[in-house]
């Protein structure tokens, strides 16, 4: 391991740490009334990190004796996550100015979010359980801090406490599972465990506990209970981050574990995922159906979406990984956009119920259009990107012969169509006596929204992107 290798393989992580340090320093030397410059600096730094990340997309290698791995697919996925974080950062500027700066915070928001992202990067790059666990914990704890940012609101603190406590429970069970695996296989390396030939019962128990820890992060039923409470209570940008970035990373590592380490158990985890997928889709959908609060609504919708993702995971190996990563990319765009619109509206009018959205099209046409695109994408209506993502998920499950599962998914998508249309109908087809008044978004959000809208239209239609992901997945 040379320095050169270290810097090229871990470039993303190193640069994020560097950015965090710079931001800390800058915060110390910035006067109280000049805090908003930090926002510009932070966005600038992160764009630099993101662009630099595009340069190391083709690097491949391991560090620290196999604990840390990088290869084109994971590098691409990291860039995708960074793009998602950047889009969330762009949306949060108004909120930071309004809610954080008066309480004397600015850089803390970015530092915590980036730390959490750093944790996710370690987690998805990990080659053994130690790195995996460290990454997972590093990603979870800062989010609890973020969720508590509006500490003067009861719900926000409540969300943070719930998050910490339940994450601790899940971590404890998972760690126990990992130690069982180590006890039976004598190794913590993903690829060595794979080679062990016997399957002791203890090891199976260990794997299930491990699985439940990841399922918690993806919020699969019945490990999803924290989701709605935390999403509703936490500041919207944080819910956005949780529902998109941390969920996507957890799905990624789930696939790596299942496809590489748990390959031998394919029959078994297929059944488990089948059941989890059906449960998650139905529970997510049925709860989402009658929600009035947009954040809670999106929380359950994201639970249901996780169920759909499993349709791809169940496909196994290359086909599964490429369709899921493609779907995740689209999902990031759709959900960030949906949460973004909800966030903007809550920010400017304090309203977050579906009923409040009546007549939105007349006062804020562009925002309503973005909301429509995002929800249509989540519902999987062509030609918006989400349709292609869903289509590939179905066909992956179908190619493995899970027609019944595809049918169940289809029924669920139809149910979901009903509730995804509710906000669209409120915004476009209803009139209201006092609709949400027209407001102007700040320049950062505008840029973010334009990127999101373009992404939602183009990702699906521009097929080389899918082919690129497919190519990367085959290298794996």
């Amino acid at each position: 391991m040379s320095w050169e290798q270290l810097f090229s393989f871990m470039q993303n992580e190193i640069l994020i740490v560097l950015a965090i340090l710079i931001l800390m320093m800058a915060d110390i030397f910035t006067g109280k009334e000049k805090k908003h410059y930090i926002i510009h600096l932070a966005n600038f730094l992160f764009v630099v990190v993101f662009l630099a990340g595009l340069n190391v997309l083709d690097k491949e290698g391991t560090l620290f004796g196999g604990s840390f791995k990088t290869y084109p697919l994971v590098a691409f996925f990291k860039s995708t996550l960074m793009a998602g974080v950047l889009l969330i950062m762009l949306q949060s500027v108004t909120w930071i100015k309004k809610e954080l700066i008066p309480h004397g915070f600015v850089s803390e928001f970015y530092i915590l979010m980036w730390s959490s992202l750093l944790g996710l990067f370690y987690m998805i790059s990990s080659g053994d359980f130690l790195m995996f666990y460290l990454g997972l914990e590093l990603s979870a704890m800062p989010v609890a801090g973020l969720a508590a940012f509006e500490f003067y609101r009861r719900r926000s603190s409540e969300a943070a406490i719930k998050m910490v406590m339940l994450a601790a429970v899940s971590s404890a069970i998972m760690l126990f599972g990992i130690s069982l695996i180590y006890a039976t296989s004598g190794s913590i390396y993903f690829d060595q465990i794979q080679m062990a030939s016997e399957v002791p019962l203890l090891e199976l128990v260990g794997f299930v506990m491990l699985l439940s820890g990841i399922a918690f992060k993806i919020s699969l039923v019945p490990f999803h209970f924290w989701t709605a409470d935390v999403y509703e209570g936490a500041p919207t940008v944080i819910s956005n981050y949780l529902s998109v970035i941390s969920k996507a990373a957890a799905v990624y590592i789930l696939m790596i574990l299942l496809f590489i380490t748990l390959r031998r158990y394919e029959e078994t985890w297929t059944v488990a995922l089948y059941i989890l997928a059906v449960l998650t889709m139905f529970v997510g959908n049925l709860f989402a159906l009658r929600q009035q609060n947009m954040k809670r609504f999106l929380a359950f919708s994201s639970v249901a979406q996780a169920g759909f993702i499993l349709l791809g995971v169940i496909g196994g190996n290359v086909l599964g990984i490429k369709t899921v990563i493609y779907f995740l990319l689209i999902y990031i765009f759709s959900n960030v956009a949906a949460f973004g619109v909800v966030h903007m509206i809550a920010m400017h009018s304090g309203k977050e119920n579906i009923k409040d959205y009546e007549g939105l099209y007349r006062t804020n046409p562009r925002l309503s259009l973005l909301l429509m695109l995002a929800l249509f994408s989540l519902a999987g209506i062509p030609p918006v990107a989400g349709f292609f993502g869903k289509f590939f998920l179905y066909s992956t499950a179908a190619s493995k012969g899970f027609y019944i599962l595809v049918f169940i998914a289809v029924v669920n998508v139809t149910i979901s169509l009903y509730y995804y249309l509710l906000p669209v109908r409120a915004a476009f087809l209803r009139r209201s006596e006092n609709p949400i008044p027209h407001f102007k978004s700040d320049i950062y959000s505008k840029i973010g929204f334009i990127i999101l809208a373009l992404g939602l239209i183009l990702i699906g239609i521009y097929s080389p992107l899918y082919e690129y992901i497919a190519r990367l997945s085959e290298i794996l």
């Binding site: 406590m165 299930v208 506990m209 509703e232 059944v271 709860f287 209506i381």
Partner: protein
């Protein structure tokens, strides 16, 4: 080889019009927006006519057979190892016929809307939606690939959602738009699964390859062994695809959205619910006809035929009892589409055998003309009387002469009276059905009589019957509205003759086939007589106000009530969705979430701020609950793993 490259502009022009009107609608005021739409559709229409002329007469058949042309094709998505998806344009007899139908009706509706939507605040928006719809429909019928069909199929659904829900202010319109969208989407998912199965088992979604006879033979032998519930996978795939088609074409039992969709503006009904979108299902079956015919000995095709025949009868019975003129027309459309499906279902493959197919497609063409005419005429009437209900009308003949005459022509056509368009196509269908089975023929024959009866019930009650006093004398005040009526009436007169292109070139094998009407055959006279009998009965009941209808209704008693309430289909659906899914599953789930999961904390938290310490205790209590579920989950998973490994 003639170059058909210009056909790309046929769908592109409406798209351009949509982009102009949709994104820059601020710059276009009322007449301007209309003229942009009309211009783009007008050119598309001319191009379609030119395409038809060039394809049928200049390019001509090779050895009595029309070869398909693919003037434009691009690679789109590579999917899996050997399945790649293209996007392009396929010119063959069916697609040529369809573009002529779509552009003709769409162009006339664009003109008509200039008068009908006059003064509406969303004029430009309306034209933008119309253009979007025309674009999607044209791209759908020109598709080279099943996947491409599906994409545009959905886009057609989205644009019709926007058009039906166009009147913001009417809650019923919004509900109808949503119902139409959800019901058809539900059916579309079956379609999607069907496509996936075809893609997986046949390895291609390319329409030309799929319709190649030796290829069909190959995939049938390859997939012989894969059977599910007694039917081969390919048969299942075709049935699923047909369910998709049945959703769009309002076949029983997926028809429930169509009558409600009449809440949309009337020109929209004429375009979408008479001539174009609703026949997409028929088009789909026709497009894959060789597959339907050969796979599984045509089992899927028999399903199509039976569903079609039943829908035709079912809808005709309901149409007898409706009071709203647009609803009568809606059920009539459903009935006529059932007719077309039945025709496809009874069809054989080659030469004379393929008569049913030919007749079905021919009927699609003629029906588009006279049904669009009926809807547009209904639009004029509604515009003049400000009501949809027949009881508010009567004696309109002297107020609306053009409408009355053109309506009469269309009504005669749909009743199958020679020499109007409907006669020939209907006669061919009955002929084909007779050769297939007498039961099918009898259903068709009976429906023909019912059709004539309810159509003339409509005609007499609107234009004759009682003399209604109108507050404002109804009049035909816009040339934009009457001109399309006259054009369509002329078309209704001529297009149905047996020597016109679309009656003889659109066959399963793409070979030219001439059909002769056997004037001596009792079948021909039977179909004319039943039509006349229906008209006669309607005259007897409805030409002047009489008491007979009431007497007949009460004689039929319960039967009449059932039919009038559309056999309680809506109620059945509502029962399942509302009582079962909403009340029994979703509401308790939401209640649990709001009151137990969420409300529990809130109520305690809000009322007792001072015991914040206790809140924390209760909070942790609740998290214990969460944690216990977590542990349950782990245990169940372990059991599953254990069960599968030991």
């Amino acid at each position: 080889m003639t170059d058909f490259g210009y056909t790309l502009w046929i769908p592109l022009l409406p798209l351009i019009s949509f982009i102009l009107l949709g994104l820059f609608n601020r710059f276009f005021k009322e007449p301007g927006a209309g003229y942009i739409g009309m211009l783009s559709l007008g050119i598309s229409w001319l191009l379609s006519i030119y395409t038809a002329w060039q394809y049928f007469f200049v390019w001509g058949p090779a050895e009595g057979k029309y070869e398909p042309v693919i003037p434009f094709k691009m690679h789109w998505i590579t999917f899996g190892e050997n399945l790649s998806i293209d996007m392009g344009i396929l010119i063959d007899p069916i697609s040529v016929m369809m573009i002529v139908v779509v552009t003709t009706v769409s162009f006339l509706v664009h003109i008509y809307s200039r008068g009908y939507m006059h003064g509406d605040e969303g004029f430009a928006r309306f034209y933008a939606y119309l253009s979007l719809f025309s674009f999607s429909m044209l791209s759908l019928v020109l598709s080279v690939n099943l996947f491409q069909i599906y994409i545009f199929w959905e886009l057609v659904g989205v644009s019709s959602f926007l058009l039906i829900g166009y009147y913001f202010v009417k809650p019923s319109a919004i509900a109808a738009a949503k119902k139409a969208f959800i019901v058809t989407r539900f059916a579309d998912f079956f379609f999607l699964v069907g496509i996936l199965m075809i893609g997986y088992y046949a390895g291609t979604l390319d329409i030309e390859t799929l319709n190649n006879l030796s290829f069909i033979e190959k995939i049938i032998t390859e997939n012989q062994g894969i059977v599910f519930m007694g039917l081969s996978v390919l048969t299942w795939a075709l049935i699923l695809i047909f369910i998709g088609g049945a959703g769009k074409s309002a076949m029983f039992p997926l028809h429930i959205w169509l009558p409600d969709a009449m809440e949309g503006p009337t020109p929209v009904s004429a375009l979408i619910h008479a001539a174009t979108m609703v026949v997409a299902g028929v088009f789909l079956v026709a497009r894959l006809f060789p597959l339907y015919y050969h796979v599984g000995d045509g089992f899927a095709l028999r399903v199509v035929g039976v569903v079609g025949a039943f829908s035709a009868l079912f809808a005709a019975v309901i149409a007898l009892t409706q009071e709203d003129i647009k609803r009568v027309l809606a059920y009539s459309t459903m009935s006529q589409i059932g007719y077309m499906m039945m025709a496809l279902g009874v069809s054989g493959f080659e030469g004379h055998e393929g008569l049913g197919y030919m007749a079905g497609m021919f009927h699609l063409f003629t029906h588009a003309m006279f049904k669009a005419l009926l809807f547009l005429a209904a639009g004029v009437i509604i515009h003049a009387v400000h009501s949809n209900l027949m009881k508010d009308m009567g004696g309109l003949h002297k107020y609306l002469p053009v409408t009355s005459w053109t309506f009469l022509i269309a009504a005669l056509a749909i009743s199958g009276i020679p020499p109007l368009a409907g006669f020939y196509s209907k006669d061919e269908i009955l002929h084909a059905a007779f050769e297939y089975s007498t039961v099918m023929w009898f259903v068709g024959f009976f429906v023909a009589g019912l059709t004539a009866f309810y159509m003339f019930r409509l005609y007499f009650r609107i234009f004759h019957n009682k003399k209604t006093e109108y507050a404002h004398p109804p009049k035909e005040d816009s040339k934009f509205m009457t001109a399309p009526l006259i054009i369509l009436a002329v078309l209704t007169f001529f297009v149905g003759w047996v020597f016109t292109p679309f009656s003889q070139y659109v066959t399963p094998t793409r070979e030219v086939f001439h059909y002769e009407i056997h004037w001596t055959s009792p079948l021909v006279w039977g179909s004319i007589l039943i039509g006349l009998a229906g008209i006669g009965a309607a005259y007897f009941f409805y030409f002047k106000p009489t008491e007979y209808p009431q007497k007949v209704a009460s004689a039929f008693g319960a039967g009449y009530k059932w039919a009038k309430n559309k056999f309680y289909m809506d109620e059945l659906y509502m029962f399942v969705t509302k009582r079962i899914i909403f009340d029994k599953i979703s509401r308790p789930a939401a209640w649990f979430d709001r009151n137990i999961v969420d409300g529990f904390m809130d109520s305690i938290g809000n009322t007792t701020v001072w015991i914040s310490e206790k809140i924390k205790l209760i909070q942790s209590g609740r998290m214990q609950e969460y944690a216990i579920y977590f542990v349950y989950g782990v245990v169940i998973l372990i059991l599953i793993f254990y069960y599968y490994n030991y």
